[in-house]
């Protein structure tokens, strides 16, 4: 890509990320009920406090969580005098403080247990990253294999498509629950563990850790793969079918290539292009899916962190996690655009 369009592209991506995270911050902070937050924080100390002490404690709490200054540069002012009903707050506001800290890599501390958000995110990524990457690799590989197989052996195609459509209809939580009940249940088949990751990690020595992690991740990965596979496979199959009816395929066949060689070397390469768009959504969608899977299989990963912080209105953690997902999505978009550019020479000319 030439320099200027690359620059414009990067700027657009950065602005989109900034807008997303900022609007999330503003919406969540605008809804933080600071009175309810104070009540729940003060109730932890069970003794009734004298009024002066209580006021001081309140002030300290508000200062600690950054709730003691106005939300934004301008805030609405409901006084009905003949002045504009907005008040200018200068840089002494929550958004400015949060943004300057976020730029320096400090996302604040959790409302729940006071630990830094970055640390919480890093700890949960330790489980989510293997899960999502494993699921992505497996579903891409399986999609590839199934589509090639369906097209090389056309007699199985309608059968395969039918089962793919059936699988596509099932929501993730249903697939995952079914797998859990069938394969991790002492009454049916107890092949895999239903929970327990992150509990006794210290007992296993370091060389056992990856194997142990893998053993715990089999069922969550399988359920994620079963849900993402049908969409990808149906899309790739449709594109491949369209390619296989083109004249150049007939030429290749006429020159003596076998069916499998035509599919592998000629059709698939051209069918990849429409499927790339779906790949950009794969990784963020897997993170979203891991919310359900991690809750169900009790994995201490990012999806669970997200769902728990949403349920307990722990906004710093929620914003950090969602911002990270949005960032991944934007990066995936960039990677996909580069891939388009690599795969299709026509796009290079247009840019």
């Amino acid at each position: 890509m030439p320099g200027r369009s690359l620059l414009r592209y990067v700027a657009r991506t950065a602005i989109a990320g900034w807008l997303t995270v900022s609007s999330l911050f503003l919406i969540s902070r605008a809804y933080t009920d600071s009175a309810a937050f104070l009540r729940s924080s003060l109730e932890n100390s069970s003794r009734p406090l004298p009024a002066a002490r209580r006021a001081r404690l309140t002030q300290q709490l508000l200062q600690r969580y950054g709730l003691d200054v106005p939300l934004f540069y301008i805030t609405p002012d409901s006084a009905t005098t003949w002045r504009p009903s907005w008040r200018w707050n200068g840089v002494r506001n929550q958004y400015h403080r949060w943004l300057t800290r976020a730029v320096q890599g400090d996302l604040g501390t959790s409302y729940r247990d006071g630990s830094p958000v970055t640390e919480l995110l890093a700890r949960s990524l330790l489980y989510t990253l293997p899960l999502t990457v494993l699921a992505a690799v497996c579903s891409i590989g399986l999609t590839w294999g199934i589509v090639v197989w369906m097209n090389v052996r056309p007699s199985w195609r309608s059968m395969g498509l039918l089962s793919l459509h059936g699988l596509q209809a099932a929501p993730l939580f249903l697939t995952a629950t079914t797998l859990l009940l069938l394969l991790a249940n002492p009454d049916v088949l107890a092949w895999f563990p239903a929970f327990g990751l992150g509990l006794e990690d210290l007992e296993a020595s370091w060389w056992q850790q990856p194997g142990r992690l893998l053993y715990f991740l089999v069922l969550p990965t399988l359920s994620l793969v079963l849900v993402t596979l049908p969409g990808l496979a149906v899309q790739l199959d449709g594109a491949l079918q369209q390619e296989l009816h083109r004249p150049y395929i007939a030429t290749a066949r006429a020159k003596g290539s076998s069916v499998s060689r035509v599919v592998w070397h000629h059709g698939l390469r051209n069918a990849l292009l429409p499927t790339l768009a779906l790949l950009t959504e794969l990784l963020p969608n897997l993170v979203a899916g891991s919310t359900v899977v991690e809750l169900l299989f009790a994995l201490p990963g990012m999806g669970r962190l997200l769902a728990e912080s949403a349920a307990t209105q722990d906004y710093p953690v929620l914003i950090g996690a969602i911002g990270l997902v949005a960032l991944v999505r934007l990066l995936a978009q960039v990677v996909a655009d580069i891939l388009y550019w690599v795969v299709d020479p026509r796009i290079r000319v247009q840019v």
Binding site: D77, T177, A288, A310
Partner: protein, 333 residues
Amino acid sequence: MSRSRVSPGLAGIAGGWLLLIILAAWATPTTVPIPDLARAGYPPFQAPHWLGTDPQGLDVGWSLLQGSRTVVLISVPAALLTLLLGTGLGSAAGFWGNRLALTRARAVAGAGLLTSGLLFWAQLAAFPILGALFLLLAGSLEALLRRTRWGRQPHFLPLDAALSACSALLDSIPLLLLVVAVASVQRPSVSGIVSLLALTCWTTPARLMRAATLQVAVQPYLEAARMTGLTDLQLLRRHIWPNTWQVAAVRFPMTVAALISLETTLAFLGIGLAPETPSWGRILSAVRQAPTAWWLVVWPGLALIVTLLSLHVLSRWLQDRMDVTNTSNNLLT
């Protein structure tokens, strides 16, 4: 590319099942049944609880019937709203593109009205009569500017660019995460969740509608109709919508299916709706307390799968009838 058509028998079965769901939703009483505590966690195929009971002693069959009410009452209005929003915005973006023309006089008056309304919102809320004054001022400004040559020149609004920026921003976060995040902020209620779903799901129908409108907008007959002096709204109503509404109609069952799986996922996670709302997802989530109770998964799971498959069949059948191609639905929930 030839695609197998949906047989009428299959479409009939799918339609019949969906009718049954609607009937169940309409006929089931809303009263919460009394839990049968003596038979909590009871297996199925025994009187009086033929489908078993959950760990709280509620009858699973009865909860299923009541859950169908939630399914219908949330997903159908949300899908209608989604499609209305998506079709409106999408066809506007496709029809006008980035060249929605206003005279400069109108643009200036409109901008003035908007800024003054924003600046003095508190006074407006206190004395609504001020609004009439603002309108009068804006109207006279427009009338004044209209007389100048500068004011009569056109000003273009970048409608299409604004819309695509909006939908790119919405799409940058997976739908489930967005709904989970927003549902944590608002109080759980049916109207809240319906509007939340509609406001986040409109991007796909809008994109489809925009593409369909763009295809129609370059046809010669539209040029001819424009030459006869029809206004933009008349063109949209008489010449564009009759050719594009099928896209939205085919999309409807798919949207309902996506919303049903999103709603049951939310209920399964316990987010967004009041915890006592009966839902298929909530029956399923009870299995986490009683892992041996297979009947808590099988019945709601079957109901859910059959409903979603019926909606897919219905969508395919509509596609066959109306001869439009539809992109596959890839919401992961």
